[in-house]
Symmetry: C2
Subunit: 352 residues, 2 copies
């Protein structure tokens, strides 16, 4: 497996923890900080420590695990810690965790002293195949996801499949949704391969292909002006469902669980609006319904869901914009969907 | 007077308020927001309104005047207002005010939805000759100035000398310090011109020359890796004095008043360390002491001042770094100063 060259930085797949150690040594940083949550402190930090003797000299900044931590309040806590420790412009932030840590850590680093270096060490499947590549950083506010953030590239990304061994099954499923999406939007062969693979612990090769796809798309369109919107497939509806669940459920949906629902709804929209064949709609629906738990969506929640979609940052001029599929492996961006159509797509899911 | 071309954007000097109206009309924005403080709402908004009929449709976001507002808490307030108003990626933020408004507004815009367009309409002399050009945005935290921010260029800057007519004399003096600095670091002729001008209300031509100088320096070094440090002359000591004053005085020093003190101290350091001629040290000291009110600095405050200098974002590896002068009009960057030297320079000022 080759390392992947992205925009000015490398995504390491081979001996990546050794490469991290090398990177830190050669970087001549004035000080290194590691950002973790309690789960990655327990499960992932020891793995990194084995390779990185100097780690004992690093300052650990730990936040509470979970999306609820991905807020400006936690950023303030991290910024103040950096200030207290006297971190200067040549400080390095190592983000060791899932997407919450890599997104929030990226944002904090990109704004501390107008930007210090950071590297991503993604420890969940979702953050490996999605969050850690593409340069999007950010935090949530007022229940709007990723509303505050920057486009800033890390100095490097270090991928290590071994982290996934301690990851709960539900978290694997969450990342898997993005891998399936990558197949659906641009690579039918990859989708077909995923269908027949053991997906309880996706292989390094499958992860690698996903990162390759995401990387190609974001390099072509770093600021989400055009084809990067391909990656939004499933996300217009999915984000709204995710937000709703976060605000209402005691055990909310994961990102991928919500996106899986979104992909079913948006596959239905693709069928209705731009001719995704019936057989492919059926195939997508069956694969996803089989992999992911059912979620109850009442008619009564539709208005709130539509409101969330309206607030979606992908919209312009108040119209709701979806990325859909012409075929499996062939996306189509900028499809404006009416509220009626979106409600019907939710009904399709609810009635399955 | 010519408009000035900066990095991808224009600094308008001619008919600039008309140009602003044109810019907004041609920009096809989904919505425009104007950020002000109570003083600029009173004195500057009416001037803009005369040219910009549509202004009535704009949403006004007003914050309290003063450096105390330049915090992440106020940013949160502005972000939430944008969210509440449903601002999308094609929204525009017009920052109408002094450096507090242009710095904070720039930061908010550069991070809202990972960046929306913003323009600067600087209404103080300081923000015209300094803050609005160069792409630095930011806010203060824990009494550390500009510690959180980004490098993001505005889409345009609109300079209008008429705003200065309502500006208090002390605010004129504040901006003047940066103009004097521009002369001292790169343009002896400009310095000589300033010495003999009526400085109670600097002419458009003098402002223009200052913007030109600042612009040339920042274009050559957008991320402050090298020659941009020229602009830090007076700022290592000056920022520390400013921070101290903010924390301790009921009527704290303005930025420029503090920088004037810093320039005297750093002229002394220039004389001691890199051969600024005695006569030039004397000249600089006399001009500044004559223009600016005296400020009492006790020996007892030196340790706190040094601490602030240590925290200065210009430092690396814990050493205090100053930009000094070889001659009037000839700067020298990266001069490491010891704590003893810095204390002696403060004594020079205190004993004048
Ligand atoms: N920047 C982007 O382009 C992008 C793309 C997709 C998602 N995201 C963001 O990513 C976030 C979701 O990512 P996530 O699911 O990784 O969230 P997460 O960081 O909350 O991780 C999920 C859970 O797994 C735990 N965990 C992490 N690594 C572990 C390991 N190796 N072993 C055991 N437990 C471990 C975490 O502590 C947490 O409890 C969302 O906030 C989403 O917005 C960003
Ligand atoms: N980004 C940069 O490169 C840069 C450079 C220099 C300074 N700064 C920042 O600029 C800030 C200081 O700028 P400032 O002095 O303009 O501060 P300011 O914005 O607080 O303005 C000073 C005062 O003048 C009032 N005012 C503004 N325009 C007026 C007008 N036309 N008539 C009457 N009153 C008016 C304001 O309400 C305020 O009370 C500091 O926060 C500093 O860090 C930034
Ligand atoms: Zn996603
Ligand atoms: Zn200054």
């Amino acid at each position: 497996m080759n390392n992947i060259q992205s925009d000015n930085y490398i995504v390491y797949f081979n001996d990546s923890i050794t490469e991290l150690a090398k990177f830190v040594k050669q970087g001549n940083y004035s000080r290194a900080f590691i950002l973790t949550d309690e789960h990655t402190t327990e499960h992932c930090l020891p793995i990194v420590k084995e390779q990185l003797d100097e780690l004992d000299n690093f300052d650990l900044i730990e936040v509470n695990a979970g999306e609820e931590s991905k807020t400006i309040d936690f950023c303030i806590g991290i910024w103040k810690t950096l200030i207290d420790f006297g971190a200067d412009r040549k400080a390095l932030l190592i983000n060791l965790g899932g997407g919450v840590i890599t997104d929030m850590g990226g944002f904090v680093a990109s704004t501390y002293k107008r930007g210090i270096d950071f590297v991503q060490v993604p420890t969940t499947l979702l953050s490996q195949v999605d969050a850690s590549v593409g340069g999007k950083t950010g935090v949530d506010m007022d229940a709007v996801k990723n509303i505050i953030g920057t486009f800033t590239q890390p100095k490097a990304v270090f991928m290590y499949g071994g982290f996934l061994q301690t990851l709960p099954a539900r978290q694997i499923l969450s990342g898997l949704a993005e891998m399936l999406k990558h197949g659906l939007i641009v690579d039918k062969t990859y989708w077909d391969q995923l269908k027949i693979s053991d997906l309880t612990l996706p292989s390094d090769e499958l992860v690698h292909r996903s990162v390759q796809i995401k990387n190609e798309v974001v390099i072509a369109d770093p600021h989400e002006k055009g084809i990067r919107k391909a990656l939004n497939f499933g996300h217009t509806v999915g984000h709204a469902v995710e937000t709703w669940s976060l605000m209402n459920d005691t055990d909310p949906l994961s990102h991928g669980e919500a996106i899986a629902i979104g992909m079913i709804c948006e596959a239905w929209l693709s069928n209705k609006k731009i001719g995704l064949p019936d057989s492919e709609l059926l195939e997508i629906t069956e694969v996803l319904i089989h992999l992911y738990p059912r979620y109850k969506i009442d008619e009564g929640t539709f208005p709130t869901l539509l409101e969330h979609m309206q607030k979606d940052k992908k919209n312009q001029n108040g119209q709701i914009n979806c990325t859909l599929l012409k075929h499996i492996g062939k996306y189509s961006i900028d499809n404006i969907c009416t509220e009626d159509e979106l409600c019907d797509s939710l009904r399709y899911y609810a009635d399955l």
